[in-house]
Symmetry: C2
Subunit: 153 residues, 2 copies
DNA sequence: TGGAAACCCTGTAGCAACTACAGGGTCAAG
DNA sequence: CTTGACCCTGTAGTTGCTACAGGGTTTCCA
């Protein structure tokens, strides 16, 4: 099958498939005489593996590592377990940071309800006070929440 | 004050300050004879404002927009309110996606407890089954959860 | 048979929000 | 007078894609 069909089968964009190949996440397929990539069934499974891992929030480097373990089944899977633990911890931290963030945003939103002049807007005032006062620890020194790291990629 | 002190006062890296200036988020300061940036108290407040907004997950474009409203207090703050609403909605969606993700990761982690050979690792098996089976909707077609979008920038 | 649409190729540049140099100049202390 | 800490500009890297530009190929329909 050609790249377009692989894309349709996996729900992955053509450009992304070529990107994964460049990054060594997808084996290089054979080529037709015209230079087209010719994929086989294994490629579908391999690409699905990558997409599944990505949907679990893993980085491409981590996925490469997992593929390494698929290729060497005699090694212990210690590292795989660590990877999952790290991943779960990461997600937990993100959730906690986002909960905090939501509270802050809601508190800020509470300060303005109807459309009026920006000079009287409680939200803008709130943002300015937070910036000027030193009693706002949310963005100072070494980041406290880490909220800014994931709150938008 | 010079850029290093501003960095210390705001907990923001020197390179980031210069980056914000280039991006138009921080007013260009005067220069000393040697060409060094000379900041004043207003710059501290301005930079804190930016950092605070960033810690609330806003993009640089959104912060520029807010600064625009600070500069034009006669406008209505309708847009500011919309921005906050969007932001809150964004955070809520991210939290939901991450909860789902955590469940999936925990289920996967359950499949392997002690270090043994990778060939017998329930986690790797789980990942492969998910990739091969068509009954796994988490990464197929048009993305269902959107988890991959924020689960690591 | 011809021509248009749909597909494929490589290579490069863009996105966001920084971060990290390289290769210089300046300044204060000892 | 030299060492080290600081500052400058400019450019390239990061992550995981996405979007061209500027070509070639294949397929379908008339």
């Amino acid at each position: 099958m050609r790249i377009g069909e692989l894309a349709r089968l996996t729900g992955c964009e053509v450009e992304t498939i070529r990107y994964y190949e460049r990054e060594g996440l997808l084996d290089k397929p054979q080529r037709t005489l015209a230079g087209y990539r010719a994929y086989r069934h294994e490629h579908v499974a391999q690409l699905n593996f990558v997409r599944h891992c990505r949907s679990l929030g893993m980085t491409l480097a981590e996925i490469r590592l997992l593929q390494d373990y698929r290729a060497h089944p005699e090694r212990t899977c210690e590292v795989v377990n660590r990877l999952l633990d790290t991943q779960i911890e990461r997600v937990r931290e993100q959730i906690a940071a986002l909960h905090l963030l939501e509270q802050q945003l809601r508190a800020l939103r509470e300060r303005c309800h109807e459309g009026h002049a920006a000079r009287d807007c409680g939200i803008l005032q709130g943002l300015e006070q937070a910036a000027e006062g030193s009693e706002c620890p949310c963005h100072g020194r070494k980041r406290a929440t880490g909220a800014e790291e994931q709150a938008r990629g």
